[in-house]
Symmetry: C2
Subunit: 444 residues, 2 copies
């Protein structure tokens, strides 16, 4: 993309309404614009990151054998009356009346709707196991929306639901989700730690929250520092293998790591040596639940078993906060000059800065870099504005592309361009061909 | 995908509530399930088609130089009061009150919101031309939703907005949209005819609707039959070229083609020889508008011109009904046995039917076909159920994959499998390797 043909409205001033750095940077870098309280438009650059995160979530869910579909944003109140949650859910549920006076709501989650789909179409154990998921906009009418997309009202979320014949099968589905979530977050350049949590309005005793450590996190967390040395890495896991998935769960959840809701000081002190005890803050980016037959019993979602009897299915639900992840990633990865996108979610693979727009050699070299990178399936953002170098660097630093190629007449006279890492600030001169290969290798 | 691991709830009975064939087939083939009146869940197979259509729309918009972003579903009523449309829009607008008593609405379209983004961030002619678009869920509270996704309440739509300095520039944007729409529909296997239409609540005299001819269409249309011989084909059009885009507009809109709203019997009779006059019905799948400064004046969206004065920008808006396209495609492409997906939007590239599940040679041949097709980047749907051949064929015919490979012990003894076209019903025996190459060529 050429910047002169793009829509990238960066702000010079720091918006006064933004209290945390990710919110400030998302506004300043032209990722979002508030449409109304807690509701945002995703400007082109923010939309690109949102899509990259969404794609990672899809790919990892499909890899785990989960099936994508899509449920609507508006739901009938009737289903929620059946489950008993219509009255339980407080004012955070946005209640709507349509022109015929029917009670509707903007879905904050989808247990009722997916259970209704299941009970309509599935009646035999032979159709199990089954895990369906979707990524859809949801609404929670926060009394005081704040922190930008981190605590907005309209938010984008992946929610998946497993249906299994037995508790054991459902716990395997739970483990599968844990594995796929670890993979997903790592691909986004995040360390998200599974912590024992509380069931909340979804219900269920068996639940883990995934938290990204950050000073601005909404939850206080208590953990064994050894846990932050763990990483999932590039290991192959067979999602059909019960022991393999179980082993990952044990590896990543055996150490003490809890939110304040489940924290127990005595256990903490007993299990964790003092020098490894940490109290910090975390941002919740996902949660997995096993809640057994809570919804299937209330809503009559049963299957015929091999012996001919009828039993309610065991279920769980599993969520990733797709839109809030932009905020979490920025909280975890930025500096004074702006965002530093991890390669996995960057909106463009690299920037090209032309130091002297209008200079024949510089223009030609930039065009040729642009064409070569594009031909390799990469998306560069070429700053082809007639601006001074300082302004171009400031924009690139603010929007946080991980790699920048700087092209100027002086370097070209020596046959080189400069490749700079946004994270380390280190620069290196090299021929344009080597720079292209380097970028291609990084994203291979 | 293996059918035993998929969620494909096909129905044997014809649902009584469905009045038109596309609605019946979408329910029977397990593409959608009604969640409440006019609101649908997209089951896995339907979701895949929806995504294929969405991808085509994105690719063709980006090719035309239009920039993707995303606006929220809920909007503040204030912006609509500014444009004067809050009161104009009748009961079809779903009005919502949040917990603080603020007036909101579920966006039926986005002129106000996009104009607000524009006026906040753009102030110079140097930032023009600019076309932004998004694909987002919208809501229209139809008094009597019907025909499935064709006239639902919650619907998925691409809407794009151009901002230009002059009327001439805006008309070029209009033409660019017309070209990109022709390309999009043809890639979906549809002939959608641009017809002179009425501005309706969006406003504007300069507008074309794209209609797919079908008996169940909601609009009566009048056209010169010569128009149905035209096709866009694989021509290269330079979207930056004013004359090239203008020439396409003239080629595709010079013949008489109008909806009943703009039809004029005298002109029809005068311009079209009797033997080419056609009266038929059509399904609207898109519409483009140039409406000048209607919103920019009302909302103060102005830019500074080269001579330093300030003028309101010229705008247009351009929509494609993404979710309703599934219905339109099925109306245009089906037979007694089910759907016939055009290759461009098919949920799976081909089906593999194993005539004798459990037979060692047949199972192995199917697995090997599955692996080879997948390795070529294709997605086959392998019916690996232990069902009789008739049931497998009926399912494949119903869900409408354009190509089927049938594998059985008898054929394998002769070294062949059978490749069948869903559209023509013609079958041909060939080696598995040739079948794989044939499928790969079709989708190349």
């Amino acid at each position: 993309m050429r910047l002169t043909r793009y829509f990238l409205p960066v702000l010079k001033e720091t918006p006064s309404e933004a209290q945390i750095v990710s919110h400030r940077l998302m506004l300043r870098a032209g990722l979002i614009k508030q449409a109304s309280a807690g509701i945002y438009s995703w400007l082109p650059l923010g939309y690109k990151v949102l899509k990259r995160i969404e794609t990672i979530v899809h790919e990892e869910q499909i890899r785990a054998g989960h099936i994508p579909m899509l449920m609507p944003t508006l739901q009938s109140a009737d289903l929620w009356r059946e489950s008993g949650r219509y009255d339980d859910y407080g004012q955070e549920m946005l209640r709507i009346t349509d022109r015929h006076g029917r009670d509707m709501l903007y879905g904050p989650t989808n247990e009722e709707l997916i259970t209704d789909i299941f009970r309509t179409h599935v009646s035999s154990y032979k159709d199990l196991p089954l895990t369906l998921y979707h990524i859809q906009w949801k609404f929670r009418d926060e009394v005081r929306p704040r922190f930008g997309v981190m605590r907005g009202r309209e938010f984008y979320m992946k929610d998946g639901y497993n249906f299994d014949l037995t508790k054991e099968d459902a716990l395997h589905a739970y483990n599968r989700h844990l594995v796929s979530y670890l993979r997903s977050y790592e691909r986004m350049g995040l360390q998200a730690i599974p912590m024992r949590a509380d069931g909340g309005p979804i219900g269920g005793d068996y639940t883990h929250e995934f938290l990204v450590l950050a000073e601005t996190g909404e939850s206080e967390v208590f953990y064994d520092s050894a846990i932050t040395d763990q990483s999932f890495g590039d290991r192959a896991v067979d999602y059909d293998s019960v022991p393999e998935c179980q082993a990952v769960l044990e590896e990543f959840t055996s150490r003490y790591a809890r939110t304040d809701e489940t924290h127990d000081e005595a256990t903490f002190n007993e299990q964790v040596p003092e020098e490894r005890r940490r109290v910090a803050r975390g941002i919740e980016v996902g949660q997995i639940f096993y809640f057994g037959t809570k919804y299937s019993e209330a809503m009559g979602a049963t299957v015929v078993t091999p012996d001919g009897s009828r039993v309610p299915v065991h279920m769980g639900s599993h969520g990733i906060g797709v839109s809030r992840l932009l905020g979490a990633i920025i909280e975890a990865s930025h500096d004074d000059r702006g965002i530093i996108w991890p390669e996995g979610v960057t909106p463009f693979h690299c920037g090209i800065v032309n130091l002297k727009q209008g200079d024949e050699a510089a223009d030609a070299a930039c065009e040729s870099l642009y064409a070569a990178l594009t031909a390799k399936g990469l998306e560069p953002l070429y700053d082809d504005r007639s601006e001074r170098a300082g302004a171009k660097f400031a924009t690139m630093d603010l929007i946080g592309l991980p790699w920048r190629i700087t092209v100027g007449p002086r370097g070209l006279a020596k046959g080189v361009v400069e490749l700079t890492s946004r994270r380390t600030g280190e620069s290196e001169d090299m021929s344009p061909e080597v720079a292209i290969d380097r970028i291609a290798q990084i994203y291979a």
